[in-house]
Protein backbone atom coordinates (compact mmCIF):
# COMPACT_ATOMS: atom_id res chain seq x y z
CA UNK A 1 0.00 0.00 0.00
CA UNK A 2 2.91 2.35 0.80
CA UNK A 3 4.41 1.62 -2.61
CA UNK A 4 1.06 2.39 -4.26
CA UNK A 5 0.79 5.63 -2.27
CA UNK A 6 4.28 6.62 -3.40
CA UNK A 7 3.47 5.89 -7.04
CA UNK A 8 0.28 7.91 -6.90
CA UNK A 9 2.00 10.87 -5.21
CA UNK A 10 4.84 10.85 -7.76
CA UNK A 11 2.38 10.67 -10.64
CA UNK A 12 0.37 13.55 -9.18
CA UNK A 13 3.50 15.69 -8.85
CA UNK A 14 4.67 14.77 -12.33
CA UNK A 15 1.28 15.75 -13.75
CA UNK A 16 1.43 19.07 -11.91
CA UNK A 17 5.04 19.95 -12.65
CA UNK A 18 3.95 22.95 -14.71
CA UNK A 19 1.75 24.12 -11.87
CA UNK A 20 4.73 23.98 -9.50
CA UNK A 21 6.60 26.41 -11.73
CA UNK A 22 3.51 28.50 -12.46
CA UNK A 23 2.97 29.12 -8.74
CA UNK A 24 6.47 28.88 -7.28
CA UNK A 25 8.23 31.23 -9.70
CA UNK A 26 5.86 34.22 -9.62
CA UNK A 27 5.33 33.97 -5.88
CA UNK A 28 9.07 33.62 -5.28
CA UNK A 29 9.93 36.48 -7.63
CA UNK A 30 7.32 38.70 -6.04
CA UNK A 31 8.62 37.88 -2.58
CA UNK A 32 12.18 38.52 -3.75
CA UNK A 33 11.11 41.86 -5.23
CA UNK A 34 9.53 42.90 -1.92
CA UNK A 35 12.73 42.06 -0.08
CA UNK A 36 14.95 43.73 -2.68
CA UNK A 37 13.13 47.07 -2.62
CA UNK A 38 13.05 47.21 1.18
CA UNK A 39 16.46 48.90 1.68
CA UNK A 40 15.46 51.75 -0.62
CA UNK A 41 11.97 52.35 0.83
CA UNK A 42 12.73 51.59 4.48
CA UNK A 43 12.78 55.16 5.79
CA UNK A 44 9.76 56.34 3.87
CA UNK A 45 7.80 53.29 4.94
CA UNK A 46 8.29 53.90 8.64
CA UNK A 47 6.91 57.39 8.27
CA UNK A 48 4.01 56.20 6.14
CA UNK A 49 3.04 53.48 8.60
CA UNK A 50 2.92 55.95 11.44
CA UNK A 51 0.14 57.70 9.55
CA UNK A 52 -1.85 54.49 8.82
CA UNK A 53 -5.22 54.26 10.65
CA UNK A 54 -4.93 52.14 13.81
CA UNK A 55 -7.69 49.82 12.63
CA UNK A 56 -5.90 49.09 9.39
CA UNK A 57 -2.67 48.30 11.23
CA UNK A 58 -4.50 45.97 13.63
CA UNK A 59 -6.43 44.30 10.84
CA UNK A 60 -3.37 43.37 8.87
CA UNK A 61 -1.03 42.92 11.82
CA UNK A 62 1.14 45.83 10.73
CA UNK A 63 3.34 47.12 13.51
CA UNK A 64 6.51 48.97 12.86
CA UNK A 65 7.97 48.44 9.40
CA UNK A 66 11.55 48.81 10.47
CA UNK A 67 12.74 45.37 9.42
CA UNK A 68 12.57 43.45 6.19
CA UNK A 69 10.76 40.63 8.00
CA UNK A 70 8.02 43.04 9.12
CA UNK A 71 7.76 44.38 5.59
CA UNK A 72 7.51 40.89 4.08
CA UNK A 73 4.80 39.98 6.55
CA UNK A 74 2.80 43.13 5.84
CA UNK A 75 3.14 42.89 2.08
CA UNK A 76 2.77 39.16 1.48
CA UNK A 77 2.50 36.82 4.44
CA UNK A 78 -0.46 38.51 6.13
CA UNK A 79 -2.80 38.27 3.14
CA UNK A 80 -1.58 37.36 -0.34
CA UNK A 81 0.44 34.23 0.42
CA UNK A 82 -2.04 32.45 2.73
CA UNK A 83 -4.93 33.12 0.33
CA UNK A 84 -2.94 32.16 -2.77
CA UNK A 85 -1.41 29.05 -1.24
CA UNK A 86 -4.76 28.04 0.26
CA UNK A 87 -6.30 28.25 -3.19
CA UNK A 88 -3.36 26.34 -4.71
CA UNK A 89 -3.98 23.56 -2.16
CA UNK A 90 -7.65 23.30 -3.15
CA UNK A 91 -6.76 23.22 -6.84
CA UNK A 92 -4.12 20.58 -6.28
CA UNK A 93 -6.25 18.27 -4.19
CA UNK A 94 -9.17 18.64 -6.58
CA UNK A 95 -7.02 17.77 -9.58
CA UNK A 96 -6.24 14.39 -8.01
CA UNK A 97 -9.90 13.53 -7.41
CA UNK A 98 -12.49 15.61 -9.24
CA UNK A 99 -10.08 16.35 -12.10
CA UNK A 100 -9.42 12.63 -12.38
CA UNK A 101 -13.15 11.91 -12.32
CA UNK A 102 -13.81 14.42 -15.10
CA UNK A 103 -11.01 13.12 -17.32
CA UNK A 104 -12.00 9.47 -16.84
CA UNK A 105 -8.73 8.66 -15.04
CA UNK A 106 -10.52 7.83 -11.81
CA UNK A 107 -12.32 4.93 -13.50
CA UNK A 108 -9.01 3.61 -14.80
CA UNK A 109 -7.27 3.92 -11.43
CA UNK A 110 -10.19 2.22 -9.71
CA UNK A 111 -9.87 -0.69 -12.11
CA UNK A 112 -6.61 -1.43 -10.30
CA UNK A 113 -6.41 -2.83 -6.76
CA UNK A 114 -6.43 0.63 -5.18
CA UNK A 115 -8.91 1.73 -2.54
CA UNK A 116 -10.65 5.06 -2.74
CA UNK A 117 -9.33 6.19 0.67
CA UNK A 118 -5.82 5.51 -0.65
CA UNK A 119 -6.51 7.71 -3.68
CA UNK A 120 -7.77 10.47 -1.37
CA UNK A 121 -4.74 10.06 0.90
CA UNK A 122 -2.41 10.22 -2.11
CA UNK A 123 -4.10 13.36 -3.34
CA UNK A 124 -3.75 14.96 0.12
CA UNK A 125 -0.11 13.90 0.52
CA UNK A 126 0.78 15.06 -3.00
CA UNK A 127 -0.87 18.41 -2.28
CA UNK A 128 1.21 18.77 0.88
CA UNK A 129 4.38 18.06 -1.10
CA UNK A 130 3.32 20.40 -3.92
CA UNK A 131 2.60 23.26 -1.51
CA UNK A 132 5.88 22.60 0.31
CA UNK A 133 7.82 22.71 -2.98
CA UNK A 134 6.18 26.01 -3.95
CA UNK A 135 7.00 27.43 -0.50
CA UNK A 136 10.61 26.23 -0.72
CA UNK A 137 10.96 27.84 -4.16
CA UNK A 138 9.54 31.05 -2.73
CA UNK A 139 11.91 31.03 0.24
CA UNK A 140 14.92 30.30 -1.97
CA UNK A 141 14.13 33.13 -4.39
CA UNK A 142 13.40 35.45 -1.47
CA UNK A 143 16.72 34.58 0.15
CA UNK A 144 18.49 35.13 -3.14
CA UNK A 145 16.81 38.53 -3.49
CA UNK A 146 17.93 39.47 -0.01
CA UNK A 147 21.51 38.50 -0.78
CA UNK A 148 21.55 40.48 -4.04
CA UNK A 149 20.01 43.61 -2.50
CA UNK A 150 21.75 43.32 0.87
CA UNK A 151 18.41 43.36 2.66
CA UNK A 152 19.69 41.28 5.61
CA UNK A 153 16.65 39.01 5.71
CA UNK A 154 16.98 36.31 8.34
CA UNK A 155 16.67 33.06 6.41
CA UNK A 156 15.43 31.27 9.53
CA UNK A 157 12.65 33.82 9.96
CA UNK A 158 11.72 33.58 6.28
CA UNK A 159 11.57 29.80 6.51
CA UNK A 160 9.36 30.04 9.61
CA UNK A 161 7.10 32.59 7.94
CA UNK A 162 6.56 30.54 4.80
CA UNK A 163 6.49 27.13 6.53
CA UNK A 164 3.69 28.44 8.73
CA UNK A 165 1.47 28.67 5.63
CA UNK A 166 1.61 24.90 5.10
CA UNK A 167 -0.84 23.80 7.85
CA UNK A 168 -3.23 26.52 6.77
CA UNK A 169 -3.11 25.29 3.18
CA UNK A 170 -3.64 21.71 4.32
CA UNK A 171 -6.88 22.72 6.06
CA UNK A 172 -8.26 23.77 2.68
CA UNK A 173 -6.89 20.64 1.02
CA UNK A 174 -8.73 18.61 3.69
CA UNK A 175 -11.90 20.61 3.07
CA UNK A 176 -11.42 19.97 -0.64
CA UNK A 177 -11.50 16.22 -0.03
CA UNK A 178 -14.60 16.62 2.16
CA UNK A 179 -16.21 18.50 -0.74
CA UNK A 180 -15.54 15.59 -3.12
CA UNK A 181 -17.84 13.56 -0.90
CA UNK A 182 -20.65 15.78 -2.20
CA UNK A 183 -19.59 16.71 -5.70
CA UNK A 184 -17.16 15.43 -8.30
CA UNK A 185 -17.16 18.65 -10.28
CA UNK A 186 -13.90 20.57 -10.01
CA UNK A 187 -15.65 23.93 -10.36
CA UNK A 188 -17.99 23.12 -7.46
CA UNK A 189 -15.22 21.84 -5.18
CA UNK A 190 -12.73 24.64 -5.85
CA UNK A 191 -15.45 27.30 -5.85
CA UNK A 192 -17.01 26.21 -2.57
CA UNK A 193 -13.73 25.72 -0.69
CA UNK A 194 -12.27 28.95 -2.07
CA UNK A 195 -15.44 30.59 -0.73
CA UNK A 196 -14.75 29.10 2.70
CA UNK A 197 -11.14 30.31 2.48
CA UNK A 198 -12.14 33.92 1.82
CA UNK A 199 -14.98 33.77 4.36
CA UNK A 200 -12.61 32.52 7.06
CA UNK A 201 -10.20 35.33 6.27
CA UNK A 202 -12.97 37.94 6.50
CA UNK A 203 -14.27 36.44 9.76
CA UNK A 204 -10.80 36.68 11.26
CA UNK A 205 -10.42 40.23 10.01
CA UNK A 206 -13.74 41.30 11.55
CA UNK A 207 -12.82 39.60 14.82
CA UNK A 208 -9.53 41.48 14.93
CA UNK A 209 -11.10 44.83 14.10
CA UNK A 210 -13.95 44.65 16.61
CA UNK A 211 -13.04 43.33 20.05
CA UNK A 212 -16.73 42.68 20.79
CA UNK A 213 -16.74 40.19 17.92
CA UNK A 214 -13.38 38.62 18.67
CA UNK A 215 -15.12 35.34 19.58
CA UNK A 216 -15.99 34.70 15.94
CA UNK A 217 -12.30 34.26 15.19
CA UNK A 218 -12.60 30.72 16.59
CA UNK A 219 -14.59 29.93 13.43
CA UNK A 220 -11.57 30.73 11.31
CA UNK A 221 -8.31 28.86 10.93
CA UNK A 222 -6.61 32.23 10.39
CA UNK A 223 -6.90 32.81 14.16
CA UNK A 224 -4.14 30.23 14.56
CA UNK A 225 -1.99 31.54 11.71
CA UNK A 226 -0.15 34.28 13.58
CA UNK A 227 2.99 36.06 12.46
CA UNK A 228 5.67 33.38 12.32
CA UNK A 229 8.24 35.44 10.40
CA UNK A 230 8.55 37.78 13.35
CA UNK A 231 7.44 35.66 16.28
CA UNK A 232 8.50 32.20 15.16
CA UNK A 233 6.27 29.20 14.62
CA UNK A 234 3.82 28.40 17.40
CA UNK A 235 4.30 24.61 17.56
CA UNK A 236 0.92 24.00 19.21
CA UNK A 237 -0.93 25.95 16.54
CA UNK A 238 1.20 24.43 13.76
CA UNK A 239 0.66 20.83 14.88
CA UNK A 240 -2.95 21.42 15.95
CA UNK A 241 -3.96 22.89 12.59
CA UNK A 242 -2.08 20.12 10.77
CA UNK A 243 -3.91 17.51 12.86
CA UNK A 244 -7.28 19.09 12.06
CA UNK A 245 -6.33 19.11 8.36
CA UNK A 246 -5.47 15.41 8.48
CA UNK A 247 -8.74 14.72 10.30
CA UNK A 248 -10.66 16.62 7.61
CA UNK A 249 -8.86 14.61 4.91
CA UNK A 250 -9.78 11.39 6.71
CA UNK A 251 -13.45 12.42 6.92
CA UNK A 252 -13.30 13.39 3.25
CA UNK A 253 -11.76 10.03 2.33
CA UNK A 254 -14.59 8.27 4.20
CA UNK A 255 -17.21 10.33 2.35
CA UNK A 256 -15.44 9.75 -0.96
CA UNK A 257 -15.44 6.02 -0.30
CA UNK A 258 -19.17 6.00 0.35
CA UNK A 259 -20.29 8.00 -2.65
CA UNK A 260 -21.27 6.76 -6.09
CA UNK A 261 -18.93 7.42 -8.96
CA UNK A 262 -21.38 7.81 -11.80
CA UNK A 263 -20.18 7.58 -15.39
Amino acid sequence: MTAQLGELVLTHLSDRRRSLLAWGLPLGLWSAFIVMIFPSVEGALSKAVQNYPTGLKEAFGIGELTSVEQYLHAELLSLIVPLAIGYLAVRAVASGLTGAAESGRLDVLLSAPVSRPLLAAASFAATAVEVAIVLVMTVLLTGLGSLVAGAHLSLGSAIAGYANVLPLALIFAGLGIVATGFSLRTSVVTGSVAGVLVTMYVIDLIGRLDSDLSGIRYLSVFKYYGNAIEEGIDPVAFLGVTAVAVALAAIGAWLFDRRDLAA
Partner: protein, 296 residues
Amino acid sequence: MPLIETEMLTKRYGAKRGIEDVTVAVEAGEVFGFLGPNGAGKTTAIRTLLDLLHPTSGRARIFGLDSHRDSVRIRGRLGNLPGDFGYGRQSTGREALRLLARLRGVDGLGRGPELAKRFHADLDRPLGQLSRGNRQKIGLILATFHSPELLILDEPTSGLDPLMQEEFLTLVGEERRRGCTVLLSSHELDEVERVCDRVGIVRDGRLIAVERIHELLGRARRTATLELAEPSDLVGELRTLPGVTDLEAADGKVSFKVAGDLDPVLRAIAKRHVTDMELTHPTLEEVFLTYYGGGG
Protein backbone atom coordinates in the same frame (compact mmCIF):
# COMPACT_ATOMS: atom_id res chain seq x y z
CA MET B 1 -19.36 -21.77 -8.55
CA PRO B 2 -20.06 -18.94 -11.04
CA LEU B 3 -17.29 -16.40 -11.49
CA ILE B 4 -19.77 -13.53 -11.41
CA GLU B 5 -23.03 -13.86 -9.55
CA THR B 6 -25.63 -11.19 -8.89
CA GLU B 7 -28.76 -11.57 -6.86
CA MET B 8 -31.61 -9.09 -7.27
CA LEU B 9 -29.03 -6.38 -7.85
CA THR B 10 -30.74 -3.00 -7.91
CA LYS B 11 -29.38 0.48 -8.34
CA ARG B 12 -31.59 3.55 -8.32
CA TYR B 13 -30.50 7.17 -8.55
CA GLY B 14 -33.16 8.72 -6.33
CA ALA B 15 -36.34 8.39 -8.33
CA LYS B 16 -34.43 7.62 -11.52
CA ARG B 17 -34.01 4.08 -12.74
CA GLY B 18 -30.64 2.43 -12.90
CA ILE B 19 -30.96 -1.34 -12.83
CA GLU B 20 -33.72 -3.37 -11.23
CA ASP B 21 -33.49 -6.87 -9.73
CA VAL B 22 -30.69 -8.11 -11.96
CA THR B 23 -29.94 -11.76 -11.24
CA VAL B 24 -27.34 -13.43 -13.40
CA ALA B 25 -24.50 -15.92 -13.16
CA VAL B 26 -21.47 -15.91 -15.46
CA GLU B 27 -19.40 -19.07 -15.48
CA ALA B 28 -15.61 -19.15 -15.49
CA GLY B 29 -14.18 -19.19 -19.00
CA GLU B 30 -17.37 -17.84 -20.53
CA VAL B 31 -17.77 -14.78 -22.75
CA PHE B 32 -20.95 -13.11 -21.61
CA GLY B 33 -22.49 -10.04 -23.19
CA PHE B 34 -24.88 -7.47 -21.82
CA LEU B 35 -26.87 -6.50 -24.89
CA GLY B 36 -29.18 -3.54 -24.95
CA PRO B 37 -29.76 -0.11 -26.41
CA ASN B 38 -27.99 2.96 -25.06
CA GLY B 39 -29.39 3.92 -21.67
CA ALA B 40 -30.72 0.43 -20.97
CA GLY B 41 -28.63 0.03 -17.81
CA LYS B 42 -25.63 -1.97 -19.07
CA THR B 43 -23.07 0.52 -17.81
CA THR B 44 -24.86 0.87 -14.48
CA ALA B 45 -24.74 -2.91 -14.06
CA ILE B 46 -21.01 -2.98 -14.82
CA ARG B 47 -20.21 -0.02 -12.58
CA THR B 48 -22.16 -1.61 -9.74
CA LEU B 49 -20.17 -4.83 -10.16
CA LEU B 50 -16.96 -2.79 -10.02
CA ASP B 51 -18.12 -1.03 -6.84
CA LEU B 52 -18.02 2.35 -8.54
CA LEU B 53 -21.73 2.52 -7.75
CA HIS B 54 -23.12 1.14 -4.52
CA PRO B 55 -26.20 -1.03 -4.97
CA THR B 56 -29.52 0.14 -3.56
CA SER B 57 -30.33 -3.47 -2.79
CA GLY B 58 -29.28 -6.96 -3.76
CA ARG B 59 -25.74 -8.25 -3.90
CA ALA B 60 -22.99 -9.20 -6.30
CA ARG B 61 -20.11 -11.64 -5.95
CA ILE B 62 -17.06 -11.93 -8.17
CA PHE B 63 -14.55 -14.78 -7.69
CA GLY B 64 -16.79 -15.72 -4.76
CA LEU B 65 -15.96 -12.39 -3.07
CA ASP B 66 -18.34 -9.62 -2.13
CA SER B 67 -18.19 -6.94 -4.80
CA HIS B 68 -18.23 -4.10 -2.26
CA ARG B 69 -16.40 -5.44 0.79
CA ASP B 70 -13.68 -7.21 -1.22
CA SER B 71 -13.57 -4.75 -4.08
CA VAL B 72 -9.81 -4.12 -3.94
CA ARG B 73 -8.99 -7.84 -3.98
CA ILE B 74 -11.39 -8.39 -6.86
CA ARG B 75 -9.92 -5.56 -8.91
CA GLY B 76 -6.48 -7.06 -8.47
CA ARG B 77 -7.63 -9.99 -10.58
CA LEU B 78 -9.56 -8.25 -13.34
CA GLY B 79 -9.04 -5.86 -16.21
CA ASN B 80 -11.57 -3.19 -17.01
CA LEU B 81 -12.22 -0.96 -19.97
CA PRO B 82 -14.59 1.80 -18.84
CA GLY B 83 -17.19 3.09 -21.26
CA ASP B 84 -16.03 6.28 -22.99
CA PHE B 85 -12.42 5.68 -21.89
CA GLY B 86 -10.36 8.70 -20.86
CA TYR B 87 -7.26 9.31 -18.78
CA GLY B 88 -6.31 12.98 -19.16
CA ARG B 89 -5.24 14.94 -22.19
CA GLN B 90 -1.59 15.50 -21.28
CA SER B 91 -0.70 11.94 -20.27
CA THR B 92 0.58 9.37 -22.72
CA GLY B 93 -0.50 5.75 -22.91
CA ARG B 94 2.95 4.69 -21.71
CA GLU B 95 2.64 6.84 -18.58
CA ALA B 96 -0.78 5.36 -17.85
CA LEU B 97 0.52 1.86 -18.49
CA ARG B 98 3.55 2.39 -16.25
CA LEU B 99 1.41 3.64 -13.38
CA LEU B 100 -1.11 0.79 -13.68
CA ALA B 101 1.70 -1.77 -13.91
CA ARG B 102 3.21 -0.45 -10.69
CA LEU B 103 -0.15 -0.30 -8.93
CA ARG B 104 -0.75 -3.90 -9.96
CA GLY B 105 2.76 -5.04 -9.10
CA VAL B 106 3.42 -6.11 -12.70
CA ASP B 107 7.05 -6.29 -13.86
CA GLY B 108 7.81 -3.81 -16.61
CA LEU B 109 4.82 -3.04 -18.78
CA GLY B 110 3.52 -6.61 -19.05
CA ARG B 111 2.03 -7.35 -22.46
CA GLY B 112 1.51 -3.62 -23.08
CA PRO B 113 4.13 -3.02 -25.78
CA GLU B 114 3.17 -6.25 -27.60
CA LEU B 115 -0.50 -5.26 -27.61
CA ALA B 116 0.36 -1.72 -28.70
CA LYS B 117 2.19 -3.15 -31.70
CA ARG B 118 -0.72 -5.41 -32.51
CA PHE B 119 -3.32 -2.64 -32.32
CA HIS B 120 -1.03 -0.04 -33.94
CA ALA B 121 -1.45 2.07 -30.83
CA ASP B 122 0.87 5.00 -30.16
CA LEU B 123 1.89 4.81 -26.51
CA ASP B 124 4.00 7.95 -26.64
CA ARG B 125 1.59 10.59 -27.84
CA PRO B 126 -0.50 12.56 -25.34
CA LEU B 127 -3.98 11.07 -25.22
CA GLY B 128 -5.47 14.48 -25.97
CA GLN B 129 -3.86 14.31 -29.42
CA LEU B 130 -5.32 10.90 -30.27
CA SER B 131 -8.57 10.19 -32.07
CA ARG B 132 -11.35 8.47 -30.14
CA GLY B 133 -10.54 5.14 -31.74
CA ASN B 134 -6.85 5.43 -30.92
CA ARG B 135 -7.65 6.34 -27.32
CA GLN B 136 -9.91 3.31 -27.15
CA LYS B 137 -6.97 1.13 -28.20
CA ILE B 138 -4.97 2.49 -25.24
CA GLY B 139 -7.93 1.67 -22.99
CA LEU B 140 -8.01 -1.90 -24.30
CA ILE B 141 -4.28 -2.27 -23.67
CA LEU B 142 -4.66 -0.97 -20.11
CA ALA B 143 -7.44 -3.50 -19.53
CA THR B 144 -5.55 -6.51 -20.84
CA PHE B 145 -1.80 -5.90 -20.41
CA HIS B 146 -1.58 -7.88 -17.14
CA SER B 147 -3.39 -11.01 -18.43
CA PRO B 148 -6.29 -10.79 -15.95
CA GLU B 149 -8.59 -13.66 -14.95
CA LEU B 150 -11.65 -11.56 -15.76
CA LEU B 151 -12.09 -8.88 -18.39
CA ILE B 152 -14.91 -6.37 -18.04
CA LEU B 153 -15.35 -4.31 -21.18
CA ASP B 154 -17.96 -1.58 -21.54
CA GLU B 155 -18.72 -0.99 -25.22
CA PRO B 156 -15.19 -2.14 -26.17
CA THR B 157 -15.29 -1.56 -29.93
CA SER B 158 -16.75 1.90 -29.69
CA GLY B 159 -14.77 4.15 -32.03
CA LEU B 160 -12.59 1.36 -33.44
CA ASP B 161 -12.32 1.04 -37.21
CA PRO B 162 -13.50 -2.26 -38.74
CA LEU B 163 -9.99 -3.73 -38.96
CA MET B 164 -9.29 -3.00 -35.32
CA GLN B 165 -12.73 -4.31 -34.34
CA GLU B 166 -11.78 -7.54 -36.03
CA GLU B 167 -8.44 -7.59 -34.20
CA PHE B 168 -10.24 -6.95 -30.94
CA LEU B 169 -12.68 -9.81 -31.50
CA THR B 170 -9.71 -12.07 -32.23
CA LEU B 171 -8.09 -10.95 -28.99
CA VAL B 172 -11.24 -11.78 -27.02
CA GLY B 173 -11.17 -15.25 -28.55
CA GLU B 174 -7.55 -15.66 -27.50
CA GLU B 175 -8.30 -14.46 -24.00
CA ARG B 176 -11.08 -17.03 -23.72
CA ARG B 177 -8.73 -19.79 -24.84
CA ARG B 178 -6.27 -18.60 -22.20
CA GLY B 179 -9.03 -19.27 -19.64
CA CYS B 180 -10.08 -15.66 -19.13
CA THR B 181 -13.74 -14.90 -18.44
CA VAL B 182 -15.08 -11.93 -20.37
CA LEU B 183 -18.06 -9.74 -19.54
CA LEU B 184 -18.77 -7.13 -22.16
CA SER B 185 -21.55 -4.75 -22.95
CA SER B 186 -22.65 -3.80 -26.41
CA HIS B 187 -25.53 -2.46 -28.41
CA GLU B 188 -24.21 -4.21 -31.53
CA LEU B 189 -25.80 -7.58 -32.12
CA ASP B 190 -23.17 -8.56 -34.68
CA GLU B 191 -20.43 -7.98 -32.14
CA VAL B 192 -21.92 -10.11 -29.39
CA GLU B 193 -22.81 -12.79 -31.94
CA ARG B 194 -19.15 -13.02 -32.92
CA VAL B 195 -17.68 -13.47 -29.47
CA CYS B 196 -20.27 -14.23 -26.84
CA ASP B 197 -21.34 -17.63 -25.57
CA ARG B 198 -24.37 -16.17 -23.86
CA VAL B 199 -26.06 -12.81 -23.77
CA GLY B 200 -28.21 -11.05 -21.25
CA ILE B 201 -30.70 -8.70 -22.79
CA VAL B 202 -31.02 -5.50 -20.80
CA ARG B 203 -33.94 -3.21 -21.31
CA ASP B 204 -35.16 -0.37 -19.10
CA GLY B 205 -32.80 -1.48 -16.35
CA ARG B 206 -34.05 -5.05 -16.25
CA LEU B 207 -32.36 -8.21 -17.45
CA ILE B 208 -35.22 -9.59 -19.48
CA ALA B 209 -33.58 -12.72 -20.85
CA VAL B 210 -30.38 -14.69 -20.73
CA GLU B 211 -29.83 -16.90 -23.76
CA ARG B 212 -27.15 -18.78 -25.60
CA ILE B 213 -26.35 -16.62 -28.61
CA HIS B 214 -27.49 -19.15 -31.23
CA GLU B 215 -30.77 -19.64 -29.38
CA LEU B 216 -31.29 -15.91 -29.24
CA LEU B 217 -30.68 -15.49 -32.97
CA GLY B 218 -32.78 -18.53 -33.78
CA ARG B 219 -35.70 -17.18 -31.85
CA ALA B 220 -35.46 -13.69 -33.33
CA ARG B 221 -36.99 -12.83 -36.69
CA ARG B 222 -34.65 -12.84 -39.66
CA THR B 223 -35.55 -11.21 -42.94
CA ALA B 224 -35.48 -13.41 -46.07
CA THR B 225 -35.61 -12.09 -49.63
CA LEU B 226 -35.87 -14.46 -52.61
CA GLU B 227 -35.90 -13.99 -56.33
CA LEU B 228 -37.75 -16.74 -58.20
CA ALA B 229 -37.02 -17.76 -61.80
CA GLU B 230 -40.70 -18.45 -62.53
CA PRO B 231 -44.05 -17.82 -60.86
CA SER B 232 -44.90 -20.31 -58.16
CA ASP B 233 -47.22 -20.93 -55.22
CA LEU B 234 -44.35 -20.44 -52.75
CA VAL B 235 -46.14 -17.58 -50.99
CA GLY B 236 -49.13 -19.73 -50.27
CA GLU B 237 -46.99 -22.49 -48.85
CA LEU B 238 -44.86 -20.10 -46.76
CA ARG B 239 -48.04 -18.61 -45.30
CA THR B 240 -48.83 -21.96 -43.72
CA LEU B 241 -45.42 -22.37 -42.07
CA PRO B 242 -44.89 -21.57 -38.39
CA GLY B 243 -42.84 -18.44 -37.64
CA VAL B 244 -43.29 -16.86 -41.07
CA THR B 245 -44.75 -13.32 -41.06
CA ASP B 246 -44.81 -10.10 -43.07
CA LEU B 247 -44.99 -11.89 -46.39
CA GLU B 248 -44.76 -9.71 -49.47
CA ALA B 249 -44.50 -10.76 -53.11
CA ALA B 250 -44.07 -8.67 -56.25
CA ASP B 251 -42.35 -9.09 -59.65
CA GLY B 252 -40.96 -12.53 -58.85
CA LYS B 253 -39.50 -11.33 -55.54
CA VAL B 254 -40.68 -12.66 -52.21
CA SER B 255 -39.73 -11.25 -48.86
CA PHE B 256 -40.80 -12.35 -45.42
CA LYS B 257 -39.67 -12.58 -41.84
CA VAL B 258 -39.04 -15.87 -40.15
CA ALA B 259 -38.45 -16.80 -36.52
CA GLY B 260 -37.42 -20.13 -35.06
CA ASP B 261 -36.40 -23.24 -36.97
CA LEU B 262 -35.50 -22.48 -40.59
CA ASP B 263 -35.74 -26.04 -41.85
CA PRO B 264 -39.42 -26.03 -43.01
CA VAL B 265 -38.81 -22.75 -44.86
CA LEU B 266 -35.69 -24.06 -46.57
CA ARG B 267 -37.51 -27.25 -47.61
CA ALA B 268 -40.31 -25.20 -49.15
CA ILE B 269 -37.87 -22.96 -50.99
CA ALA B 270 -35.78 -25.90 -52.22
CA LYS B 271 -38.71 -27.12 -54.32
CA ARG B 272 -38.56 -23.94 -56.45
CA HIS B 273 -36.04 -22.47 -58.86
CA VAL B 274 -34.47 -19.68 -56.83
CA THR B 275 -32.09 -17.31 -58.64
CA ASP B 276 -31.11 -15.24 -55.62
CA MET B 277 -31.58 -15.36 -51.92
CA GLU B 278 -30.60 -13.16 -48.99
CA LEU B 279 -31.08 -13.92 -45.33
CA THR B 280 -30.31 -10.99 -43.07
CA HIS B 281 -29.64 -11.20 -39.38
CA PRO B 282 -32.14 -9.75 -36.99
CA THR B 283 -31.45 -6.24 -35.81
CA LEU B 284 -31.31 -5.49 -32.14
CA GLU B 285 -34.81 -4.04 -32.42
CA GLU B 286 -36.05 -7.29 -33.93
CA VAL B 287 -34.48 -9.24 -31.10
CA PHE B 288 -36.33 -7.00 -28.67
CA LEU B 289 -39.57 -7.47 -30.58
CA THR B 290 -39.13 -11.20 -30.05
CA TYR B 291 -38.98 -10.69 -26.30
CA TYR B 292 -41.57 -7.97 -26.04
CA GLY B 293 -44.04 -9.16 -28.61
CA GLY B 294 -43.97 -5.75 -30.22
CA GLY B 295 -44.32 -3.95 -26.94
CA GLY B 296 -41.35 -1.88 -27.77
